[in-house]
């Protein structure tokens, strides 16, 4: 593609983070389906707003469970998704290869979910969606890659699954709120410990005085 023979230098000090979403969507194929193929699922890598990620991803390898043949599937064009049928859950390994060979691939582990959590009756219409927000961080990327990353995605891709995709825009604020809340809790607890520790020191002093007084009297 854009690979050139010119020597590639890393840009020291530059860091770029690209948000992506790893996910899987699983449809139950109904009670009549073959027991070995009870679900049809799709695993994918997408941009948070369905951006076309091929501007920096050359291809994606999906490593499936050994019972699939072949267990290694390569997707070279967007959207980077892979559809299969099966009956069991397993951990998928998704390997992202970048357009610049100098940058080594990133490996993501995605747990494939076929059954709703918490467990409930499955319906054919409602798929099981399992998505994780992820950020790919490029530290000191090669110059060319840096330029491409800075330019950003040029277009979006359409896929029929996108109506099921989750929206992560509010997620960060919510998570931050939770962390802040937790920190406040811990801080109050620490303050309480500090208070109690001071009390103990006081009480100790008194007790020690008392003991030495009695000891002298004896």
């Amino acid at each position: 593609m854009k690979a050139s023979s010119s020597p590639k230098a890393r840009t020291k000090g530059a860091t770029v983070a690209v948000p992506v979403i790893q996910g899987s969507i699983a449809f139950w194929l109904g009670p009549e389906a073959d027991e070995w193929h009870s679900h049809r699922w799709t695993a994918y890598i997408r941009g948070p707003k369905n951006e076309d990620l091929s501007y920096f991803i050359r291809y994606v390898e999906f490593h499936l469970h050994e019972s699939f043949h072949p267990s290694k599937r390569v997707v070279t064009r967007p959207p980077f998704e892979l559809t299969e049928t099966g009956w069991g859950e397993f951990d998928l390994i998704i390997r992202l290869f970048f357009i610049d060979n100098l940058e080594s691939p990133i490996e993501l582990v995605h747990p494939l979910r076929l059954f709703p959590n918490p467990p409930k009756d499955q319906s054919v219409e409602e798929p099981v969606v399992n998505e994780y927000y992820e950020e790919l961080v490029f530290q000191d990327p090669p110059e060319e890659l840096l330029a491409i990353l800075r330019m950003g995605p040029q277009r979006t891709v359409e896929t029929e699954l996108q109506k099921y995709f989750l929206d992560f825009t509010r997620q960060e604020a919510q998570d931050l709120e939770k962390i802040k809340h937790a920190k406040d809790m811990i801080r109050t607890k620490l303050l309480a410990i500090n208070e109690r520790s001071k009390e103990i020191d006081e009480e100790r002093k008194q007790l020690e005085e008392e003991i030495s007084r009695i000891g002298k009297a004896v």
Binding site: R10, T15, V16, A17, V18, P19, P48, K49, F98, E103, S104, I106, L108, Y132, Y133, E134, E135, L136, V137, F138, Q139, D140, P141, G152, P153, F168, T169, R170, Q171, E172, A173, D175, L176, K178, I179, K180, H181, A182, K183, M185, I186, R187, K189, L190, L191, I193, N194, R196, S197, I200, D201, E203, R204, L207, E208, E210, I211, I214, G215, V218
Partner: protein, 427 residues
């Protein structure tokens, strides 16, 4: 002779002993000597053999029973020993290098006056006694055990004799002036040694009492003593280990503040998060990411977190969420449990801000656990003091507070859990 014959017949008659020896492989069946002979001498009977070439054909050197005398002896006593003839005349006095004599300071009358005045504290010593002591010291070369043996007055202890001699000699040494020309003499060295090492009677007495006690120990007492020493060593090792662990955590938490002052725990000011705007999302998002990434990069470079290094290359940000916060498996599990309990979970959205906040939260949690541990130790100390006080007063000791009992039980429980987990892991 008769006795040995008796033994011989005895052994000959006991077949068993013979069998024993042969079964051990020490007997011999050599018909020339017979098994009975072997059992009699209780050793392997082998014809004496000499390796070829052990003895050369050279002539054997001759030895002579020769008289010798020591120059040190004034009575000219002659003793005899074997010596080789050819080296006969080499050394006139073989043992002359052993002729060493202790140099002893001697006092004059005027000196004795001075010394006596200064050592008034030990007035039990008369001039005559001191004279005798110095004479004996000279005669027996400061061998105090011998001097003590020859001492006429039984009331004096060995230490007293030593102390008298060394204190007087020290005083003398201090008053004497030495010419520079005599600086190399034996006596000068002796004087210097006297001044440098004053004799400590009390220490010497204690040392001997201690040694004596140790010698008198029964087996049981000795065991107890050894146990005590072992326990003391263990306590010391534990203390060191704890101190080291605390130091490590302190270092680890240097970002989170000092454990001992929980109030000073540094709270990282939360960064304003721009509310997600639908339009131009990706561009804005990207800019913000880049900005934050540089902040996190700075943090990574600082390397406050254990096992985290800055290096070139691409990685997924969520991996930072999974870096272990502590070296201790138990601490890691506790932190994870607490994160779930607090509703944060183990994998919040891995943006730059959240990753940083999440790290600092985890460090705060470690901080908190440590503070809790210290507090529980303090509570125990307090409880023990209370028990001591009530004992002194003759009252019923207070019961262990329920939360303390629980905390110790909880620790036991987790201990069991770890072993279970370990076993499971191995399986």
């Amino acid at each position: 002779m008769t006795q040995s014959l008796c033994k011989y017949s005895e052994i000959v008659n006991t077949e068993e002993s013979v069998r024993n020896i042969t079964s051990e492989g020490r007997g011999t069946r050599n018909p020339v000597y017979g098994r009975d002979w072997a059992s009699l001498t209780n050793s392997v009977s082998v014809f004496p053999s000499v390796p070829v070439g052990l003895y050369s054909n050279n002539q054997v050197s001759r030895w002579k029973w020769k008289a010798f005398s020591s120059a040190k002896r004034k009575d000219g006593l002659e003793l005899f020993h074997w010596s080789r003839e050819d080296k006969d005349e080499e050394k006139e006095d073989l043992f002359s290098n052993l002729n060493k004599e202790a140099k002893i300071l001697k006092y004059t009358d005027s000196e004795y006056e001075v010394v006596c005045q200064e050592t008034n504290s030990d007035s039990s010593w008369s001039r005559e006694e001191t004279n005798l002591l110095f004479q004996l010291c000279e005669k027996y070369n400061l061998r105090f055990t011998v001097i003590y043996d020859r001492w006429p007055d039984e009331r004096r202890s060995l230490e007293e004799l030593k102390n008298r001699y060394y204190s007087v000699a020290r005083k003398l040494a201090e008053t004497r002036k030495f010419e520079p020309s005599t600086r190399n003499s034996v006596i000068f060295k002796h004087v210097q040694a006297l001044i440098a090492n004053p004799f400590d009677v009390d220490y010497e007495r204690q040392r001997k009492v201690q040694l004596d006690n140790a010698f008198q120990f029964s087996k049981k007492e000795l065991d107890r003593e050894e146990n005590t020493v072992r326990e003391a060593r263990q306590i010391e090792a534990n203390r060191k280990r704890r101190a080291k662990e605390r130091q490590r955590i302190q270092k680890l938490l240097s970002r989170g503040g000092d454990i001992r002052h929980p109030a000073s725990v540094h709270i990282v000011p939360s960064v304003e998060y721009p509310s997600g705007q639908k339009e131009h999302f990706s561009n804005r998002h990207r800019q913000q990411q880049i900005g934050n990434a540089s902040a996190s990069e700075k943090y990574d470079r600082k390397g406050n977190f254990p096992r985290r290094r800055y290096h070139s290359g691409a990685f997924e940000r969520s991996s930072i969420l999974y870096t272990p916060v502590s070296h201790s498996q138990r601490n890691i599990r506790r932190v994870e449990g607490m994160l779930e309990e607090l509703g944060v979970g183990l994998r919040p959205m891995p943006t730059a801000t959240i990753v940083e906040e999440f790290d600092s939260l985890r460090l705060d949690l470690l901080n908190y656990f440590e503070a809790e541990k210290v507090l529980i130790r303090k509570e125990w100390d307090l409880h023990n003091l209370k028990v001591r006080l009530s004992k002194l007063r003759g009252e019923e000791p207070p019961p262990v507070p329920t939360f303390l009992a629980e905390s110790s039980r909880k620790q036991e429980d987790t201990g069991v859990n770890t072993s279970h987990r370990k076993r499971r892991k191995r399986l």
